[in-house]
Amino acid sequence: MQLKLRRVKNAVKERKLRRTPLIATALIVITVALSIVIVEGGFGVLPPNQIRELGRTILINTYNPWNTTLTSYSLNSVSAIIWDYRGIDTLIETTVLFASVVGLSIIFQGIKPKPLGAGKGMSIIAKTTVKLVILLTVAASLSIAVHGHITPGGGFQGGSILAIIASLTIVAYSIGVIFRSGVSLDVLLKIRYLALLTLLLTAITPIVLGLVLNTRAYVLQNMAKEDSVVSMPATFLNTPLAGSIFFFNLIEYIVVSTSIVFIIVLFTLSSKILGSKGE
């Protein structure tokens, strides 16, 4: 039995050795073929002289008061695609992120934060600098998320910038500081659940409005359509608000920042616990 097993193992090893040059050759062939296609213009001119019709249609309709059925009243067309034209895609993408966080919390469910003492951290110069940077980071990330429909940015970009605070604090101070400030894994997960729920509620708000007003409405509907008068607010105090895009960006900001902070804290804790083999 043992002999047979060893023979199988050796055969597998030999096959692996033979496989490596084969993979390399295959990849070289693919690369050369792809390069020839690119040079000969098989994909058209790269980059193209004119953008595709879909991109052009979206650019024309992203803020178009003369075509109320297709417009989203968002000056940033990328945000308009993310939360209006392809809103369901982004909603599911957020659930994927949620699934990943839940999966990680299940994998590391045995990890409990120990009562950590005050870490020594870095020098006083670094600590003071981090304090200033944290202040600036909060302001910048919030502005990027809230202005996601007017300027480049959005909920994900703002949220990932905000999450930097966690890694900065862990490096400059210690992980204990994060727990002492009231941010625990449970709290982060609860905020995450709540934010995802709010996201789904925002998506079905037009349906509820439609039921109340006894009119037709659609899930994830942003602006009024030809056959539906239900509309999210297009402006706020003469500033473009882009309806649901603003709300989605704001919720996504919370969702993404809590997710990333959760993952950072979890990995920092687990690196301490997984330090030795076979525990």
Binding site: L5, P47, I51, P65, I82, L97, S100
Partner: protein, 138 residues
């Protein structure tokens, strides 16, 4: 302008080579961590490739493409036509942001599994895991 076309073609080919190298790393490297790094390089190269596809080759250098964002509230359809004639394609950019979020979710989960592997086998090397796991692998 031919120089520009040549340069962009060189960039596109370099992406193809980068994808091949990353794929080679994914298939052949013994370390799971290096496999993951290769996977990240693979996906990031694809994202950069999508940005290139969505870019616009300017007909003259002064006519540099603008971002797909309106800078003023439009007062006529002409302004929208003007923007759409100058801006880069917003669709690949929107796809990439979705891809980045999903990649982040997948990679962080894989990293968690990697840590778990390290916890049980004391290594992330495929050969060591194979030895440690013994007959269970077969």
């Amino acid at each position: 302008m031919d120089v520009m076309v040549f340069a962009f073609t060189a960039i596109a080919i370099s992406f193809a080579i980068n994808i091949a190298i990353a794929a080679y790393g994914i298939f052949t490297d013994k370390s799971l961590l290096k496999k993951l790094i290769s996977l990240i390089i693979f996906s990031d190269t694809l994202a950069a490739f999508a940005v290139l596809i969505g870019f616009r080759l300017p007909s003259v250098l002064s006519d540099y493409p603008s971002p797909p964002i309106l800078t003023n509230i439009p007062e006529s359809v002409d302004y929208l036509e003007e923007i759409s004639a100058k801006a880069v394609d917003p669709v690949p950019q929107a796809f990439i942001i979705t891809a980045i979020v999903i990649n982040f979710a997948v990679f962080s989960f894989l990293l968690g599994l990697l840590l778990l592997n390290y916890k049980y086998f004391g290594s992330v090397n495929v050969s060591v895991i194979e030895e440690e796991a013994g007959d269970e692998v077969y």
